[in-house]
């Protein structure tokens, strides 16, 4: 009974992770607290925490004042810019300008525009695109694995689980090659520089991927040793 529970929970966990991670924007994260100019038509500076979260489909930029109330304003922004297929990042950026978002947000968002000399856009977009595709495939594999595990064909379930893991790892590979290939692009906010590093989504995908591979391998090996 306990074993059964464990199985269900593990399986659900894996599926949930694959789905969640796909929509998460925490693949690469960076955070810096700095003094920075804030908005147009004002020369005032604020001190704020600027966060950058790069996901598979876009970036999320957060700006939180420290403290949140400064200049009689609530400084707490969380803006998303997406570059999924079919969406136009440049247009979103133009809209953001129109909207008049705070300077640091615009500054960071601009670094990801297609024509920015940073070249971040193409890299991250492609990597995100293919990683996301891999994760979808992994998700389908997971579905199949579940179906097969509930049928009398356990080995195939094992194989599918293995495939799930492998596709997740492949996705990670895509993501990391792309991110490590980009030339460093300093993100200077005021005096400080924002550095990004791999985020929780990345690590959790890595662990579930490895978990799947291990489980799958175990099942396959078990079947080899003891066919019935």
């Amino acid at each position: 009974r306990l074993f059964w529970m464990l199985r269900v929970v593990t399986s659900l966990f894996i599926g949930a992770v694959i789905l969640a991670v796909n929509f998460s924007s925490e693949w690469s994260v960076g955070q810096v607290s700095t003094n920075t100019s804030y908005k147009a038509f004002s020369s005032q500076w604020i001190s704020a925490n600027v966060g950058l979260q790069i996901g598979l489909g876009g970036v999320n930029i957060t700006l939180t004042g420290t403290p949140v109330q400064q200049l009689n304003e609530t400084i707490d922004y969380n803006e998303e810019f997406t570059w999924r297929l079919g969406e136009n990042y440049a247009e979103e950026y133009a809209n953001a300008l129109e909207k008049g978002l705070p300077d640091p947000v615009l500054y960071l968002a601009e670094k990801f525009t297609p024509h920015s000399p940073c070249g971040l856009h193409g890299q991250y977009r492609l990597a995100g695109h293919y990683t996301s595709a891999m994760l979808w495939v992994a998700f389908l594999c997971w579905l199949l694995a579940n179906v097969m595990l509930s049928m009398p064909v356990l080995v195939y379930g094992g194989h599918m689980l293995l495939a799930t893991g492998l596709f997740q790892l492949l996705g990670l590979l895509f993501f990391s090659t792309a991110t490590s290939l980009t030339p460093p692009c300093p993100l200077r906010l005021g005096a400080a520089t924002l550095h990004t590093h791999r985020g929780p989504a990345y690590w959790i995908t890595l662990t579930t991927g490895l978990l799947c591979v291990l489980l799958g391998l175990a099942m396959v090996v078990a079947h080899r040793m003891q066919p019935h």
Partner: protein, 1454 residues
């Protein structure tokens, strides 16, 4: 904490204005001063007939010699500084998307661009980027977009000023390639506004009166055009370089000549100029420019700008002025007069008034220009007008435009340094900036002494330091490099061709590999068969000498055991069946030849009148043993023999192989028959004199018994052969000579019935006493039915004989004289008449066949009206009636006695073929040809309407998708511009891509076997022909491959066009991939093919498809099903690649996955259903090896396994690998407890299966390997019960479905289930009835249970090749008797009727129509070899042509 107390300006110009954030930002519109003038009022530029050709204008109005100094002594430094200022303010050079071209057509004979007078030179000019929100309607004509923001104000010049001293700023900027938000403006703005502008216009801008927030600082298109144009007149042909001490240095050119100055036209873009290596060189250049006087401010422009301006990469030079003119038209600039009026300048009404000074000094220019404009001053464009105005200074028009722009830039800029409200600078700082001049900057950065520069660097007045050596003209300067046309495709042609060629070779490569696989497999199969033979041989090795028999050059060697016995040599194979017997009779002369090389392993025994025996041994010793015993044996039988040695090759050449011998025999037979005919005609028996040695040889050769038997298609041991042979062999030497054979043949061919029966009589009169005893008679019959000895016991046979005797009234005789014998056969007189000896392998001469045919068509009485035959008529009819009696019941309406005896015609008559009154009804059926065709077509449509419907829907969808994309790219995608680049290519490739996506996705549905099996039971079956799934699969696949080839061809066109398109066009089409930076070549073809995602995957897809399709072809599928199966599973890779193929979204968003998702889910679900049950192990209950390689497996029925008769399953045998599944039809009926299969060994899998399931020595069924079972799957045959009357035609192993169906039917009727079916005809076509004895058992069972006479079985035995051969005739006679007596077949022991020869389907169906006149539709189900099903199909078509009963045919081949 806050180090900056002012607001930082954005680089892109946003948020400069409090109200209008966008004003002046990068990417905002240009602001017109004068309303636009476009040809269509919206966006079409004005062009040639209305306005002159730009190059012609440039040639007319702007050509002139260089070397005139500026009237105001402006320096070159001012000119180039101005260029930098402007290039930061106004750059619209970015070309627009989609690419639109306004090309410059060079007038024929242009001295620079058209030197060879071809007259078709075109300089490309691309229109600039515009705001897509404009240019749609007349009130909002097209507006261009600025690439640099005016909102940055004159901070731009900042950079210009900074750029001059490149050395310094470089260090201060640090290594970052990214410009960071600008800090505070520095003196650049001041210099540009207050030093450079006045020097240029000779007018001071009005005093700064503070920031004017409501002023739009945006650039105007007029300014954009005017400023650039004006500079160009001042550009010198070269630039001096000097050092701080006024030394003007020589300049080393590319070709290492030395000249006075740096030539302008050769220095554009050249960053690695030999003179500009060090920072000091730049200083020297700056100092030189400060001293050099610019060209005169007039209408004349130097050739460096006018003829040798750098063009796009494709065309290295262009005319700057002509481009500017076109730019003006692109911008929709107003005419000169209109602009003047709008800007408030006094109107100009006459051409001379444009520039009175010019018209005085050189009026021809104005006149020529006027001529170009048709003397119509109102047409004169702004640019040439403005330029012609200038004399010493920019004319009033340009001055006004430029000043207005600069003032707006200054006053509308919140960050202007004099604006004290922005908090950037203090009063003191402002004053300091105001006091900084360019000279100060230069002195500061170049480290020259301030004495080396004049105070105002934009002018050089007499007395200033370092005067220039002289006004530069083109003389003494190196000539400009002439224009070069670059062909982007140059050098790629060969590679492109090779690439395409390689792609086309994929199928060939695949074909080759398929061929190799097929060869390998054939060899493997042979080895497999050889192996089991050998292995068995090893087990049972007993007696004899092991050797390999060599059978000829092309044939494989076979392992044999040689037994030497007195008088003969036997050769047996591993199973101890005799392969060959060589007779050794004394008079023979035998030659024994031994090989002398290659290990001396071969032995050749030359025996006359037979093909030679060549044996190969492993070792010489083994051969020695053989030779010894051979010698012994030969001596023993008293043969003469000679022995000698030959080399092995010669030995083999000397050997007469079986093939040679059979060639010989063929000649033999051919001559035999011609002889017979000769006799027929001339009644003379002389041998013809044939010169050919071969024929002579053939005629002297003699037939052995084995050969004789073989020529009759019988076994040598058969009694019939033996008796016949001994009868013919008159001299008794054991061989038939030509003469002997001829004699006997003559009787058969030509003899009267009496002669024939006498021959028979003699044959079976074993003791030669002139009488045939009953015993001998029985032996005779036995000899006839030797092939079917299974089903007749001795007593049965005796019974038959008794009855035959009784019938003829000889019941009390023990022996028959010949007369009696002949009398007994009297009924069959006519059969005997046409009886011949049918000789296998030799075509019966046409004449004879004709004879038979003719005889049979015209009823024989007419041919030979023998009174005897007519006398016998009544009896014969009675005879038939007897035959018919048991059948009568079923044909209540069939009361007519047979009218005409046509039974000899064709095959033997089917007993229910009662009448053939063709004559009477002829008119009714035989309408016009057209009517028949129409009828046939109607029937076809009726039969296939579901197919047609489904196909129509499918292809309509595919075609619709094609058209949708084709339409989109042809007409609706203009905004993408791709259609202008590659029209046919893109339409073809995208249209087909859409169809392919659909087809390759939905092809999966045809392979959802479980779904199909399920759905066929539902109402959908009425609309969808599920049986045709596999055919449909093939059809889709073959259409898809055609489309795929078209798709690839389309992309080949695209790639070609892309690789010759300039980058500016490509960057519009693929904004994500290319940036038009003006300095790069487009990607070459290989980049598109091998370095893009769609290209590379496309090539891989082509390879995969080539492999899949070649291996899926019928031929290779037959050769190597495994190869097909393995390669066919590349489909998984195919889908993966297809998804990746589109994922790059090169041209449009990927769509394949949308099509793919639904079918893929269904398919996976279907596979899961299969998977869930196909891994269940099932134990085999019983296995039997039946004759002719058929294995019968009986196994457990899994739980809940429900199926219909006629359905099939796929099985894998655990012992043969768990992945290889093969389809087999269930032969058990649904009501049975177990499932059973009958499997014929045809290939490796089935052969091994047969071995595995050979019965174990101790019979414990647990020992059988278990099975995996997948199924059941539906099949067309299961529909038999939907027809009132069905005809089932089974051939070979194809009878399996019918076994199940028959059992099912009989069971259903016996348990009095309501069955719709009234009558079933089962036609079993088999080579010999022995082949599928197991079916006979089933049929017997069916017959026993079939109380209601539902089933009528007809067996056609095809092996007895010709119906008129003697043996068949005798068999037929006996069969008739047997049936009469025992009511079962002599052959099969069944009640069913046995026929000989191939079934005449057409006649059969025809008679069915008559038997069941009320049935509108008869189902025909056939299964077996393709030849047979094809015949059935043809017969159905023929019948369907008539307007009667409808035959609907379903067939399956396997």
């Amino acid at each position: 904490q806050n180090s900056i107390s002012w607001e930082v300006q954005r680089f892109d110009g946003w948020y400069n204005n409090l109200m209008e954030h966008r004003w002046g930002s990068k990417g905002s519109r240009l602001q017109r001063l004068v309303p636009a003038s476009y040809a269509d009022g919206v966006y079409q530029p004005l062009g040639e007939p209305h306005l002159p050709n730009p190059r012609a204008l440039s040639n007319t109005a702007m050509r002139g010699p260089a070397g005139l100094a500026s009237l105001q002594n402006r320096t070159v430094l001012g000119v180039f500084f101005g260029y930098h200022v402007l290039s930061d303010l106004v750059s619209v050079e970015k070309s627009g998307c989609p690419a639109e071209f306004l090309n410059i057509h060079i007038p024929p004979g242009d001295p620079v661009f058209d030197r060879d007078q071809s007259g078709d030179v075109v300089l490309p000019f691309q229109r600039s980027r515009w705001d897509p929100e404009t240019g749609q309607s007349p009130s909002n004509p097209r507006d261009l977009v600025s690439a640099a923001g005016g909102g940055v104000g004159l901070a731009g010049p900042e950079a210009a000023a900074e750029r001059i001293p490149s050395r310094r700023t470089h260090d201060s900027r640090g290594p970052s390639p990214l410009p960071d938000p600008p800090g505070r403006p520095t003196p650049g703005s001041n210099i540009a506004m207050y030093e450079w502008l006045p020097s240029f216009l000779r007018k001071m801008p009005p005093e700064y009166a503070g920031y004017r927030p409501f002023l739009d600082p945006s650039i105007s298109p007029e300014f954009l055009a005017a400023s650039e144009q004006f500079f160009s007149t001042m550009v010198p042909p070269g630039v001096y370089m000097r050092n701080a001490s006024c030394h003007f240095q020589g300049v080393i050119n590319r070709n290492s000549s030395v000249s006075r100055a740096l030539r302008v036209c050769n220095s554009y873009w050249s960053r690695e100029h030999p003179n500009l290596q060090r920072a000091e060189d730049v200083d020297a250049l700056l100092l030189g420019m400060a001293s050099q006087i610019a060209e005169r401010e007039d209408h004349v422009v130097v050739e460096d700008v006018r003829d040798f301006w750098p063009g796009p990469l494709k065309f290295s030079r262009t005319d700057h002025l002509a481009s500017c003119l076109l730019r003006g038209r692109d911008l929709g600039l107003p005419s000169y007069t209109k602009a003047r009026a709008t800007l408030g300048l006094p109107p100009v009404t006459r051409w001379q008034d444009i520039n009175p000074a010019l018209s005085r000094s050189d009026g021809t220019v104005l006149e020529a220009t006027a001529a170009l404009y048709n003397q119509d001053l109102s047409r004169l464009e702004l640019l040439p007008g403005g330029l012609l105005e200038s004399h010493g200074d920019p004319g009033p028009l340009f001055s006004t435009i430029i000043l207005d722009q600069f003032v707006r830039l200054r006053d509308g800029d919140r960050y202007w340094f004099e604006n004290s409200k922005n908090g950037l600078f203090s009063e003191r700082e402002i004053a300091e900036i105001r006091n900084t001049s360019l000279r100060d900057v230069l002195v500061a950065v170049t480290k020259v002494d301030s004495g080396a520069l004049q105070p105002s660097v934009f002018f050089w007045h007499a007395g200033d330091p370092c005067p220039q050596p002289g006004q530069l003209s083109t003389e003494g300067l190196p000539a400009c490099a002439p224009p070069i046309m670059r062909d982007y495709f140059e050098g790629s042609g060969f590679g492109f061709g090779v690439t395409i060629g390689t792609l086309c070779c994929f199928p060939l490569v695949s074909l080759l590999s398929a061929w190799i696989v097929a060869q390998l497999r054939r060899r493997n199969l042979k080895r497999l068969q050889g192996q089991d033979r050998q292995s068995i041989m090893c087990e049972k090795l007993m007696g004899g000498i092991k050797a390999m028999e060599w059978q000829g050059r092309k044939e494989p060697c076979r392992p044999v055991l040689v037994h030497l016995q007195p008088g003969q040599i036997h050769m047996v194979d591993g199973r101890l069946s005799v392969l060959r017997t060589v007779q050794l009779r004394p008079p023979q002369q035998v030659n024994l030849i031994l090989s002398s090389n290659h290990g001396r392993r071969a032995l050749l025994l030359k025996i006359p009148k037979e093909y030679d025996l060549v044996l190969l041994f492993d070792l010489e010793e083994e051969r020695q043993v053989m030779v010894e015993s051979l010698r012994g044996a030969l001596k023993e039988s008293g043969l003469n023999f000679q022995e000698w040695e030959l080399r092995e090759q010669e030995l083999m050449r000397a050997a007469v192989t079986r093939e040679q011998r059979s060639h010989l025999l063929e000649t033999f037979f051919r001559h035999l028959f011609s002889q017979v005919l000769d006799i027929d005609q001339a009644d003379a028996g002389a041998l013809p004199l044939d010169s050919s040695q071969k024929v002579q040889e053939a005629l002297t050769c003699e037939l052995s018994r084995a050969e004789f038997a073989e020529s009759l298609g019988l076994k040598p041991q058969d009694m019939f052969v033996q008796s016949m042979f001994s009868l013919a062999d008159k001299d008794g030497n054991g061989y038939l000579s030509f003469r002997e054979f001829l004699d006997i043949l003559v009787v058969f061919m030509k003899g009267s019935p009496e002669e024939k029966s006498r021959l028979m009589f003699r044959m079976y009169d074993f003791d030669g006493n002139g009488l045939i005893s009953k015993d001998e008679f029985i032996r005779m019959l036995r000899s006839f039915i030797e092939i079917s000895n299974n089903c007749l016991t001795k007593t049965q046979l005796a019974e038959v004989v008794e009855s035959m005797f009784r019938e003829s009234g000889f019941q009390d005789k023990q022996e028959l004289t010949w007369e009696d014998f002949h009398f007994m056969l009297r009924d069959h007189d006519s059969e005997l008449r046409f009886t011949q000896l049918c000789v296998k392998g030799v075509e019966v001469p046409e004449v004879i066949k004709d004879l038979c045919r003719r005889a049979s068509y015209i009823s024989q009485e007419k041919l030979c009206p023998s009174p005897r035959v007519s006398a016998r008529r009544p009896r014969k009819d009675a005879d038939i009636e007897v035959e018919l009696t048991p059948r009568r019941l079923q044909y209540p309406n069939d009361t007519d006695p047979p009218q005409e005896i046509r039974r000899r015609f064709g095959k033997k008559v089917t007993s229910f073929q009662p009448l053939l009154f063709t004559e009477a009804h002829r008119e009714k059926f035989q309408r016009s040809r057209r009517h028949q065709t129409v009828q046939q077509f109607k029937r076809f449509v009726e039969n296939y309407r579901r197919h047609i419907g489904c196909l129509a829907v499918f292809y309509a969808i595919a075609g619709g998708l094609f058209l949708e994309r084709a339409y989109y790219y042809a007409f609706a995608a203009h905004h993408k511009g791709i259609t202008d680049t590659t029209r046919v290519g893109i339409i073809l490739s995208r249209g087909t891509a859409a169809s392919i996506s659909f087809m390759f996705s939905y092809i999966l549905l045809t392979m959802c076997r479980n779904l199909i099996t399920f759905l066929r039971e539902t109402f959908l079956n009425r609309y969808v022909p599920f049986d045709a799934a596999v055919d449909f699969h093939r059809l889709i696949a073959s259409t898809a491959i055609v489309l795929t080839v078209l798709h690839s061809a389309g992309h080949v066109v695209n790639v070609y066009l892309f690789s010759i398109s300039p980058l500016s066009v490509l960057s519009c089409l693929f904004p994500g991939l290319f940036h038009d930076n003006g300095s790069e070549f487009p990607q070459q073809y290989y980049w598109w093919f091998f370095q893009t995602v769609p290209g590379l995957t496309g090539v891989m897809l082509l390879l995969i498809l080539a492999i899949m399709y070649i291996f899926a072809s019928r031929h290779f599928r037959r050769c190597s099903f495994r190869g097909f199966w393995l390669t066919h599973h590349l489909y998984i890779l195919l889908y993966v690649l297809l998804i990746i193929h589109g994922s790059f979204a090169l041209i449009q968003l990927p769509r394949f996955h949308i099509f793919f998702l639904v079918p893929a889910l269904i398919y996976v679900g279907d596979k899961l259903v299969s998977l869930s049950r196909k891994k269940v192990e099932i134990s085999v209950v019983k296995a039997e090896l039946l004759p002719s390689g058929v294995t019968h497996l009986e196994f457990q029925r899994p739980q809940g396994f429900e199926y219909k008769s006629g359905q099939w399953v796929r099985i894998a045998c655990l012992a043969l690998g768990t992945t290889e599944y093969h389809p087999f039809t269930l032969t058990s009926a649904p009501h049975e407890e177990t499932l059973s299969l009958h499997i014929r060994a045809v290939g490796p899998w089935t052969t091994r299966l047969r071995e595995i399931y050979s019965p174990p020595t101790d019979d414990s069924c647990a020992k059988y390997p278990k099975l995996y079972l997948d199924g059941p799957f539906g099949e067309g045959h299961q529909e038999w019960h939907k027809f009132e009357v069905s005809v089932l035609v089974g051939g070979g192993i194809g009878v399996t479905p019918f076994a199940s169906i028959l059992k099912d039917l009989v069971f259903k009727s016996s348990v009095s289930c309501q069955v719709f079916c009234k009558k079933i005809y089962f036609i079993w076509v088999t080579r010999t009835q022995r082949q599928f004895e197991w079916l006979a058992d089933i049929i017997r069972e069916v017959e026993e249970n079939d109380r209601q006479d539902l089933v009528s079985v007809h067996i056609y035995i095809t092996q007895l090749a010709e119906k008129f051969d003697l043996r068949t005739t005798m068999l037929y006679i006996c069969e008739r008797h047997f049936q009469k007596v025992l009511n079962r077949s002599l052959f099969t022991g069944l009640r069913s009727v046995t026929h000989f020869g191939r079934p005449p389907f057409e006649a059969f169906f025809n008679s069915l129509q008559k038997v069941h006149p009320q049935v509108r539709k008869i189902g025909v189900f056939s299964c077996g070899p393709p030849g047979m099903t094809k015949n059935v199909e043809k017969a159905c078509q023929l019948i369907n042509r008539q307007d009667r009963t409808h035959f609907s045919h379903h067939y399956e081949n396997f």
